[in-house]
Subunit: 414 residues, 2 copies
């Protein structure tokens, strides 16, 4: 039995049929079921029957170069698959039972044979980390990699990324890059070894979105619990809202920008977007990383605010319309006097910050706070890092939508 063989595995009275996939240990057979799910079955006490050998020529689909092109078909667009690690590029380490990130972009092609024939692929590895370990420095490496791929002719880019911090990285690229082609983040909530893995459908839909007309930074993940369609979220407006569900990602304050129907490979958009080719490729990768996100809670230790003295900027995740305990306002005034940019957002997540309504807010405005409009707190933090390194007019830049991060003006109420 080799990888690529069609096999039947029988164990504990259950039968499984599918394609044998490469496995990282001797203890398990990894089987791709016909529905696209991969499952791992313990070899011990399993009976394996080879039904057909070499159904998928898995190992020859990609070669081992750092940036490699597979089976060039001049009629197909070129999509660059950039891997940063995360679950979509993960497998279970059966020795510890934990999921580790160890695949590169080429392994994704091996693991998702359904990608074949849709495009010419280039693979590139920028990092191989679980995304809780993502840093602003890797955002910069990634931005350069995406820039170079586009400069070298990629018609679209798919970034494979852990879901934990995907929203932060997608925001960072949205501010750092002007792009004439789609840049589509995708990932996986369940590793390829789990029966319910979402890696195949997410990867396929992301490639379809990368060939679409929308030249923006998008996040492509399951739209529902089912394997019917992926949502396309604007990178600056999306949040991972559930720890484990496959449809964990949500556009805050609106419907997703678009969607990809899996069965028909149809990409549709419900709202205006930047069209392919309407923007010239450019990169502004500098970041001022001396920026923090501070969440305001009842009883918060003022020492956390002391730590912000001398920082380039802070984003406060305030309460309600954008408030913080009144006792901290004098300190905030000193911070802004000393040149620290202080941006107010809301832990409500949805809705506009409006510090003109209540006394606390008006005092905060007098203390020099910049209202974060409708920006998500995490997006505002990333944008402030970018703004402080690239623009002299910090207040104006933070209050102007650069990449769809501020939703259109609305009266907070009537």
């Amino acid at each position: 039995m080799d990888s690529g063989d069609r096999i039947r595995v029988e164990r504990s009275g259950e039968q499984y049929e599918g394609v044998c996939m490469p496995s990282t240990t001797e203890d398990h057979v990894v089987l791709k079921l016909d529905g696209g799910y991969n499952i791992g079955i313990e070899r011990e006490e399993s009976h394996v029957e080879v039904l057909d050998s070499g159904v998928y020529d898995i190992d020859s689909e990609v070669d081992g170069d750092e940036s490699s092109v597979v089976e060039i078909d001049p009629d197909l667009p070129t999509i660059s698959l950039i891997s940063t690690g995360g679950t979509i590029a993960s497998t279970v380490d059966y020795r510890t039972g934990a999921v580790t990130s160890q695949f590169d972009a080429e392994d994704v092609l091996r693991a998702v044979p359904d990608l074949a024939g849709r495009a010419n692929y280039r693979g590139r590895v920028v990092a191989n980390i679980l995304s809780e370990n993502m840093t602003p420095e890797i955002w910069q490496d990634l931005a350069w990699a995406v820039h170079d791929e586009i400069e070298n002719g990629a018609d679209g880019v798919v970034v494979m990324h852990g879901t934990d911090t995907m929203q932060y990285t997608a925001s960072a690229l949205a501010f750092m890059l002007d792009t004439p082609v789609p840049i589509v983040f995708t990932g996986s909530q369940r590793s390829a070894d789990r029966p319910s893995s979402d890696n195949v459908m997410n990867a396929v839909c992301a490639v379809e979105a990368a060939m679409s007309d929308c030249a923006e930074v998008l996040v492509c993940m399951h739209a529902t619990e089912n394997d019917t369609r992926c949502a396309l979220h604007r990178g600056t407006r999306v949040r991972k809202d559930h720890t484990s569900r496959r449809n964990a990602f949500e556009t805050i304050g609106n419907e997703p920008l678009g969607e990809v129907e899996y069965a028909t490979e149809t990409v549709t958009f419900q709202r205006p977007y930047d069209e392919r080719g309407s923007t010239t490729l450019d990169i502004a990768p500098d970041l001022e990383t001396d920026v923090e996100l501070l969440k305001s809670t009842p009883g918060m230790d003022g020492a956390f605010l002391d730590l912000c003295d001398g920082k380039a900027g802070i984003v406060i995740e305030g309460t309600g319309l954008g408030h913080i305990n009144t006792k901290f306002i004098d300190h905030i005034a000193r911070l802004t006097d000393d040149g620290t940019a202080v941006v107010m957002t809301s832990q409500c997540l949805d809705g506009r910050v409006c510090d003109r309504v209540y006394d606390t807010g008006r005092d905060l405005l007098e203390a020099g706070v910049i209202e974060g409009e409708t920006m998500l707190p995490g997006t505002a933090m990333v944008k402030l890092m970018w703004t402080l390194a690239n623009r002299s007019s910090v207040r104006e830049t933070m209050q102007t939508s650069l990449a769809g991060e501020i939703t259109e003006r609305s009266v907070p109420w009537t």
Copy 2:
């Protein structure tokens, strides 16, 4: 023209008819429209006509004692209205244009004549603050006030509270009090002076809920944008999710526990709850306030973690299933070794923390982190303050649902 008169105001070609309400300045007439909304109209260039005098005997409805009983009808239940400030007890200060909190519980009775006849009311003021200034110390004062009102015969308690931090205070009371009667938090997203104020319906529905069979700490706020019904949220599972909408509150991970239909005054529950009288009144008001909520973000300054050295406890708002940058795990192990309780929650908000899936999580468990199950980060912070002061088995208490804060066991995925 006096408060309580039915009047018609004409200004700039527009006519308004309603009941004249007490105003805090000479510059404006405050008019309660027939729909229940209050509006403020500048006196200058206004023409006022008194249509009927003394329609509402506003001023005599309540007297000025700190705790007062109005018009006792032995057939009606007794509801205690406890005010802490916030928008429901606010009015616009027309000098600055900002909303200030200056009404006490009795003013709410004046402002919401619809409450009359539903119950015998007792008014009590615990604080008069906007809720961004709420502190654990005031949670304790409030818990005692609620305890004493119930001990003195209240059949239900309505707590009027600013919406910014209502979820934290409701959680605190849910842990501090065993209650045989409903304790219902309500507030207002728009002050009584705005045409769209939600104060009347929220107050009426909260009183109806306080007379219901559900002896839990509830949050009663608009369920939709319309004035049709209020949702009843369990205090430990609710979040303010929008800065300004009237239906800003959401139960995370489930439908609300119940609802109140405004027109019919019908209170219904969709899930099991603690029934009236099933619990004996008790209070455990102690809190260990040396507890912080720390949000993990890419690029977070490790100095924030240094600040947690020696603290009694911290709750981390991690990413995904409950992760933080791997480089901080050794520090977390030192914290737990030194006796700091470290609880992991997720900034996803919805879903269960599960640190058994990925390497990072398994390392965190080895470092002594307590998984926060499905608890909201803010609720976990409040519960940790309570647990450290009241229970010796911190881990077990944090992982056991005491007041509905942990939703029932579910497999994170299949």
